[in-house]
Amino acid sequence: MKKEDWPLFEIFIRSRSGLSHRHVGSLHAADASMALDHARDLYTRRGEGVSLWAVESRNIAASDPAESSALFEPAEDKIYRHPTFYEVPEGVENL
């Protein structure tokens, strides 16, 4: 049996409560519980977190970088979505 049979997992760590989980890297494991065990040894040797997620890589849908301009450019010219777009007259407060 080849190691290839161990699927790839992406590992996410919550560094402390109050923060969201962040992607830290990936590893191979036979199943999800082994992925968590390995993630503990591999990514939290110095107290990096309080919670781990392991997600099989093939279950992640990713956008295509070749399409990135079509996806993200439409947001670029909508500067009125930012508060700095609007002029606040001198003397007006709490706005």
């Binding site: 080849k2 190691k3 049979d5 890297g25 036979a30 199943d31 890589s57």
Partner: protein, 328 residues
């Protein structure tokens, strides 16, 4: 998201507008943008990275062997705990780097096979034996010191996954160098026999440590292109000089003598001059004729073979759990 399947672009795309893509790619590099796994990249860039990162990963893995040799014989429980933690870190570094290599579209199995068949190289420093406890000090101080010198610029490498792995590695590596220096310090403040042991270790590890930076710039095959791609940021000779400059005063502090009669401070250059490296020895070790090449590969091979049943059992267990889950 380092899935391999998505990394591969059809070849035709490259043939259609290869030059235009190449120009755009180089422009991104020049603008200090990071390249990510699914981005278009020239084949040469991909191949260079696969070679370099996998060699780096193999080095971390094989590098566990010379130090592992002393875990059971560390002089105190404190030293033993530290050495265990360090060797475990090296395993971790190997795994971060294997993951980074896999994002380029090569499988872990292929990488393992390349190491075990001798097709892929690893740092030749690990083909030297660890004869005394002082060698563990010298490795931490010199070998990890040289590695850090090499690795810090790699944190800014143009390939995102490699750069991110290196940030992690560098953060963890600095304790390795300090624990090595501490061992050397303790020995150099000890009995005559202990001082002799420290000096002997320095004598044996100094030159191989300098070789770790690779061939001189004039002979380095891959340097110029790697610099243009910002995989490398400094030349081999620049990094080697930097290492000599910072290490010589540390040796003086320890009261140890560098095994190099040509070593001398050069006021006008603002650097230490040092003697000629025995490149014949470097290439011999690289070819497989170092003191421990065969032993190292045999140890990796038997670890791989002896672990086969564990890998098989883990898969069988995972499948059984899955079936039970589905049945329930």
């Amino acid at each position: 998201m380092y899935t391999q399947g998505l990394d591969q672009k059809p070849d035709t795309e490259k043939q259609v507008d290869g030059t235009e893509q190449l120009v755009r790619f180089q422009a991104r590099i020049d603008a200090d943008e990071k390249i990510e796994p699914k981005d278009w990249m020239p084949d040469g860039y991909r191949k260079t990275l696969i070679r370099q990162i996998s060699q780096h990963a193999h080095s971390e893995i094989v590098g566990m062997l010379p130090e592992g040799n002393w875990i059971t014989r560390a002089p105190t429980l404190r030293r033993k705990a530290i050495l265990l933690a360090k060797v475990q870190d090296e395993a971790g570094h190997g795994l971060y780097l294997y993951s980074a290599t896999e994002t380029l579209g090569v499988s872990r199995d292929q990488l393992t096979e390349q190491l075990l068949t001798g097709k892929a190289k690893y740092s030749s420093i690990f083909n030297y034996p660890t004869l005394s406890w002082a060698d563990i000090g010298a490795i931490g101080w010199l070998v990890d010191g040289a590695a850090i010198m090499n690795q810090i610029p790699l944190c800014r490498c143009s390939y995102g996954p490699y750069a991110r792995a290196m940030v992690r590695v560098c953060k963890e590596e600095s304790f390795h160098q300090r624990q090595g220096f501490e061992i050397m310090l303790e020995l150099s403040r000890g009995s005559d026999a202990q001082r002799r042991m420290a000096q002997d270790a320095l004598n044996r590890w100094w030159w191989p440590s300098l070789m770790m930076f690779g061939p001189s710039d004039v002979d380095s095959k891959h340097s110029a292109q790697s610099m243009a791609w910002k995989i490398k940021r400094f030349s081999n000779d620049e990094l080697r000089q930097k290492f000599v400059d910072v290490t010589v005063p540390q040796a003086e502090f320890l009261g140890l003598t560098m095994p190099d009669t040509d070593l001398d401070w050069n006021e006008s250059r603002g650097h230490y001059d040092f003697g000629e490296i025995d490149w014949q020895e470097f290439y011999e070790v690289l070819k497989g004729n170092g003191p421990c090449n065969r032993e190292r590969l045999a140890a990796r091979q038997s670890a791989h073979d002896d672990g086969a049943w564990v890998r098989t059992a883990a898969v069988a267990y995972a499948q059984k759990q899955k079936r039970r889950c589905q049945a329930a």
